[in-house]
Subunit: 561 residues, 2 copies
C-alpha cells in the first residue's frame, strides 16, 4: 500500500528553480510523517516520526521512515523542522541523529523541550536546536515562516516554505479550536495573508477529511470530566496520551475542584508533564501532586491516578489493572476514564481492557459513552476553511491513508482546485514543483524500516513473513545426522515441533515414511544433504496436510559429523 505507484520509474534530474518533494512516510498511512524538500541541491526535512506496527508486522516495536533516499546526502540537510512533539512526528529523530549528529532541529519551545528529554533517554545530546514561532528564518535556500496552529498538544506549528519555486504551505497536524484552553488559535490570519500572496502548493493534514463538520472545542471536555468526578464514589483513574498537556490540565483542575490528590503513573507521562510544567505549559496547584508510590496510602475517594495505556497496550498499568496484575486492585465503585482517541488497530485491545475493568465492577467512561475526548485533527468543515483561505494553485493531501487522501482531494476539488492540480502521492513518490505546477515525476525506493529490540532494519519483510507462518501454524523440525566420511545416515530422524498442535507421539507415524524415503533416495547408501532436506520437507508437509489439514513451517536439518 505505501509503496510507490508500480508504474513509476526513477525521477528525472530536478530542473533548475524546481522544488522536489518526497515523503518518506505519512502518505498512505497514519504515522512516520516525514517530508523531504529539495532545492538547488539542498534539503529541508519536515518532521521525522514513527509508525506503530499492525498485526501483519508481529513483534516489531516501531516502524521508521526509510532514510535510504537521503542517506548519501545527509550533509545536504539544512534543518529538520518539527511541527509538534507527537511520536508520529518526532519519534524517528533519534535514529536520524545517529546517522548525522549535528543536523539542526527547529521547532517551538515545547516541541524542542519534549524532543530534548526524549533524546536524553536515547543518550543523545542534540548539537543544534532552534526555537521558532511566528517568525521567518532562512535555512539555506529555504525561507521558512512558522505559523501557530492548534492541535492536541500545545505549541504546534505549520510551516510556509519559500523558495524561488514558490510558496509551499505545510500545515503539519492541526485543528481549529475557536476557544482553545491556552488561547493560542490556528492563525487563520497568516493563512489568509499567505493565500493573498499566493500559495503555490498546500500540503494539508488529511486525518479527519472523511469526518463531516467541525471538531468540538477541547473546552467541552472539562465539564464532563468534572461531572464524572462529582459522581465518582471511589478511586478515579484517567488514562490519556502522555503528551496531551491540556487534557491533563483539565484533569488537574477537576481534581482540585473535587478535593482529590493526583498521582502520575508511567515514565512518559511523568517525563512529559515535568517538561511541560517547567516550561510553564502546565499549571499545577500547590499540594495537588503526590508521588505515585504513596498513592495507596490515600483513601480511594481522595485520589485520581493519571496514566498511559489508553490504547490497551498490554504492558501499561491500565491493562495490568484490568487483568488484576497490578498493585492497584480495581473494584466496585471505581471509575476509569479513557480520555483519548481510539487509534485504529487498537480496538480489540481497548475492548479487552474495558471488559476487564467492567468485570471487576468499575464504571468505565470512554468516548463511546461520554464526551471525554475530542479529536486533534480538523474535520472536513474546517479543512474547507483552510482551502478557501489559502486558495492554493496546487494541492497535495498529506498525513493519511488512501481513504483520507482521496476524501481530502475531493474537498479541494469542491473549493475550486482543478483536478489536474491535485496530486495524490504515496510514500516515495517524487513530486516536482516547476513553473507553478506540482506533478508526479517518478518514485524512489521507500520501504518499511523495522525497529525490533536494539536493531534497526535487521528485521526484514522476509523475517516477518516467517513470523506470520510460525505464529499461525508453528513449526516441525526434522533432524538427521549423516556421517560425512561414509555419507550414511547415523542418527535421526528426530522430530520436534512447537505451536503445531500435534502431539509428540503422533510423529511416530511419519518417521518410518521419512526413513523409507531417505533410504530410497540413496540406493548406494550415500546421501545428498540438499536432496535429503527437500525430500524430508515434502514428506512431512504432505503428511501434515493430509492428516491435519494444516501447514506448519517444516524445517529439515541435516547435520554432518
Amino acid at each position: 500500500m505505501s509503496h510507490p505507484h508500480p508504474e513509476l520509474g526513477p525521477p528525472p534530474p530536478l530542473p533548475e528553480n524546481g522544488l522536489r518533494i518526497v515523503a518518506l512516510g505519512g502518505l498512505g498511512e497514519i504515522g512516520r510523517n516525514m517530508a523531504v524538500f529539495e532545492f538547488d541541491g539542498r534539503l529541508l526535512v519536515v518532521d521525522c516520526g514513527v509508525l506503530f506496527p499492525d498485526p501483519e508486522q508481529p513483534g516489531v516495536d516501531l516502524i521508521l521512515p526509510d532514510f535510504d533516499y537521503i542517506r548519501g546526502r545527509l550533509d545536504d540537510i539544512e534543518a529538520v523542522v518539527l511541527t509538534h512533539a507527537h511520536e508520529d512526528h518526532i519519534g524517528a529523530v533519534p535514529y536520524l541523529l545517529r546517522e548525522r549528529a549535528d543536523i539542526p532541529l527547529v521547532g517551538s519551545r515545547l516541541t524542542l523541550g519534549f524532543i530534548e528529554s526524549k533524546l536524553t533517554e536515547h543518550r543523545i545530546q542534540p548539537v543544534k536546536a532552534e526555537v521558532v514561532e511566528g517568525d521567518r528564518r532562512r535555512f539555506g535556500p529555504f525561507e521558512c515562516e512558522f505559523v501557530a496552529v492548534n492541535h492536541s498538544i500545545p505549541d504546534a506549528l505549520a510551516v510556509a516554505i519559500r523558495t524561488p519555486a514558490g510558496i509551499v504551505l505545510h500545515t503539519g497536524d492541526f485543528k481549529m479550536d475557536q476557544l482553545p484552553l491556552d488561547g493560542r488559535l490556528t492563525d487563520l490570519g497568516a493563512f489568509a495573508r499567505l493565500g493573498a500572496e499566493g500559495v503555490d502548493l498546500l500540503m494539508s493534514d488529511s486525518t479527519n477529511s472523511e469526518v463531516p463538520g467541525f471538531v468540538p472545542s477541547e473546552r467541552t471536555i472539562g465539564p464532563v470530566i468534572d461531572e464524572v468526578f462529582r459522581s465518582a464514589a471511589k478511586r478515579i483513574i484517567v488514562a490519556c496520551f502522555a503528551s496531551h498537556v491540556h487534557r491533563v490540565q483539565q484533569v488537574f483542575d477537576a481534581a482540585q475542584e473535587n478535593g482529590r490528590k493526583v498521582a502520575l503513573i508511567g515514565r512518559s507521562m511523568v517525563r512529559n508533564m515535568t517538561v511541560a510544567r517547567e516550561l510553564g505549559y502546565l499549571k499545577v496547584p500547590p499540594g495537588l501532586l503526590v508521588d505515585s508510590r504513596e498513592i495507596e496510602e490515600w483513601p480511594p475517594e481522595d485520589v485520581v491516578l493519571i496514566c498511559t495505556g489508553s490504547q490497551g497496550e498490554p504492558m501499561a498499568a491500565l491493562s495490568r489493572m484490568a487483568n488484576r496484575d497490578h498493585p492497584i486492585r480495581v473494584a466496585e465503585g471505581d471509575t476509569v476514564v479513557l480520555a483519548s482517541s481510539l487509534v485504529p488497530g487498537n480496538e480489540t485491545a481497548v475492548n479487552k481492557v474495558i471488559n476487564g475493568l467492567t468485570r471487576w465492577g468499575a464504571r468505565v467512561v470512554h468516548k463511546g459513552n461520554a464526551t471525554v475526548h475530542v479529536s486533534g485533527h480538523a474535520a472536513a468543515g474546517e479543512l474547507l476553511y483552510v482551502l478557501n483561505l489559502t486558495k492554493p494553485s496546487n494541492f497535495m493531501p498529506v498525513h493519511g491513508e488512501w481513504r483520507h487522501m482521496r476524501a481530502h482531494a475531493k474537498l479541494a476539488a469542491l473549493t475550486g482546485v482543478p483536478d489536474d492540480h491535485i496530486v495524490i502521492a504515496e510514500d516515495g513518490v517524487v513530486v516536482d514543483m516547476v513553473d507553478g505546477r506540482a506533478r508526479i515525476v517518478g518514485a524512489v525506493q521507500c520501504g518499511y524500516v523495522y525497529v525490533d529490540g536494539s536493531s534497526v532494519g535487521a528485521v526484514t519483510d522476509t523475517a516477518l513473513k516467517d513470523r506470520r507462518i510460525l505464529g499461525d501454524e508453528g513449526f516441525i523440525s526434522v533432524v538427521v545426522v549423516v556421517d560425512s566420511t561414509t555419507g550414511k545416515v547415523t542418527g535421526g530422524p528426530e522430530i520436534y515441533a512447537r505451536g503445531s498442535g500435534i502431539e509428540t507421539e503422533a510423529f511416530d507415524a511419519v518417521i518410518p515414511l521419512i526413513e523409507a524415503a531417505l533410504q530410497d533416495s540413496a540406493a548406494d547408501g550415500v546421501a545428498d544433504p540438499q536432496q535429503m532436506r527437500r525430500l524430508t520437507r515434502r514428506i512431512v508437509g504432505r503428511w501434515v496436510s493430509d492428516t491435519y489439514r494444516r501447514r506448519p513451517m517444516i524445517i529439515p536439518v541435516v547435520v554432518e559429523v
Copy 2:
C-alpha cells in the same frame, strides 16, 4: 475473562424441582452461544454456535463451546433448540452431532434449511429435525413454546421453557423492527402474555445493551442502496453476510430497478441463497441472476456482484480485489458497498480493504458514511420494552461481553428487577433456579476448544502461547550431536533460526561461547544431554538479549548417535 469466577467451586447436587442452567459459551464473549438446561436429570440445549478467534488465538479457525460438561451425558439431551441460523448459534452443531448423531434438532423452517445444507458439507445427515414456530412442544420435562422474533436473518425464534421450576424466557438474538420486510414482527403479544402468566427468569440478548435508543428499520436501507445504484457509473460490488436474506433481497430489488444483472460470489453466499430461494424466503425476479463465471462478459455498468468478505477476511474475494489479486480489477468509477456491521476485532482488516479499494479509485460506501447497515440486535430502548412486558422475577443477561452484560443488568434494575434477582454469569457458571429464585451455585470447567484444520481440541493454550512467542520473536535452534557410546560431542553446534531477524553470519559470535560452555560442563568429556540443553538455552538466550534486546524462542537439540 470467560472462565468461571475464580472463587466458585463445583456445584452442589441439583435440588428436586430445581432447574439448572449452565452456559458453555456466549457469556463474557460475543459468540459460541450455547446454554444447557437441566431438569430431573434430563437436558435441553439452546443453540450450539462458534466463536471466531482474536489475535491472541493465532492460526485457529474456530472456537467451540466446551462440551466437556455434557460429554458423559449426551444421551440425556432431549433436543437442541436452534433459535436462528447464524454461525454463532449453529456453527458447532456438526461437532456436537459427531459425538451423538441422533440428537434431535429443533428450529424454524429456514434455520433447519440452513443447518441441513451446512451439515451436508460436513457429510452429516441429521437423524431428527423438527420444524417449529409459534407452537408448544414437549421435549422430556421441557415444555417449549416458540415465539417469533425479528433479527438480521429471517425466521428467528425466542423460546419459553416451562418446567415445574417455572417459566424461563430465552430471547435468542432479536431486534424489534416495527416495519420488517417480511412483516414478521417480534411477537410482543406473546411476551406480554408470558409476562402476565409470570416469567420466572428472563435470559435476554445483551449485544446492544450499551447502545441508547432504537435500531432503525431494515427498510431504511433500501432507498440508500437504490440511490447508490443510481449514481454508480461502473461496476457495483456489494459485500454482506451470507445469511442476510433481507439485505440480499434489497440488493436484488435495487438491481432490478436499475436494470442490472446480479451474480453471487462465494460458496456460503450461493449455498444459503439457494436454500432461502427454495424455501420461498428470497424472491428472485426471472433473468436477474447470472452465473458468476459469466459476469465478466457483461459491461461493468450492467452488473452487480454480491459477495462475502465484508469483515476483511484475507482470502475472501473482496480482500483479493483490494489487493489486485482477483480477476475482477476494481477501477475508477466502480462502487463497493459494505452492507454489513463491522464485527469487533475486524476493524484493521476492513480498513485495509477500504484503503485498497479506494487506492484503485473505487468509491467505497460503508456504514461509516451511509445508512447501508442497521444492527440485528435490540438497543437499550428496545430491551426496556422486553423487560417491562415480561416483568421477570429474575434476570440473567446473555450473549455479550462483560460490558454488555453489566449494562443490560443496569437496564433490568431500572425496570424494577431487584439487584439480588439479577444474575451475571460467565461461561461455565452454574445457575440454579429453585423456589422461584435464580442463584449462582458453582462453576464447572469451561475452556476454549480450538478447531484448527481437521483437528478439534488438539491445539491447546500451550500451543497458542508458543505460537504467540514464535510469531512475535521467531526462534533459534541449536543442534549438537553426541556420541552415545563415548558421551562426546561429535557434531555441531549448528544454529538455524527463522523469524529472529538475526543474520546467519551473526551466529558465528555465539558458537564459541556454546562450545566453551559445553566443554566446561563436561570436564571428563562425558556430557549430560539434559544439562547441555539447559546450558545452551541459557547462553544463547543471554547473548540474544544482550546483543539484540530480543527474546526469540530458543530450542536446544541434542541428537545422540
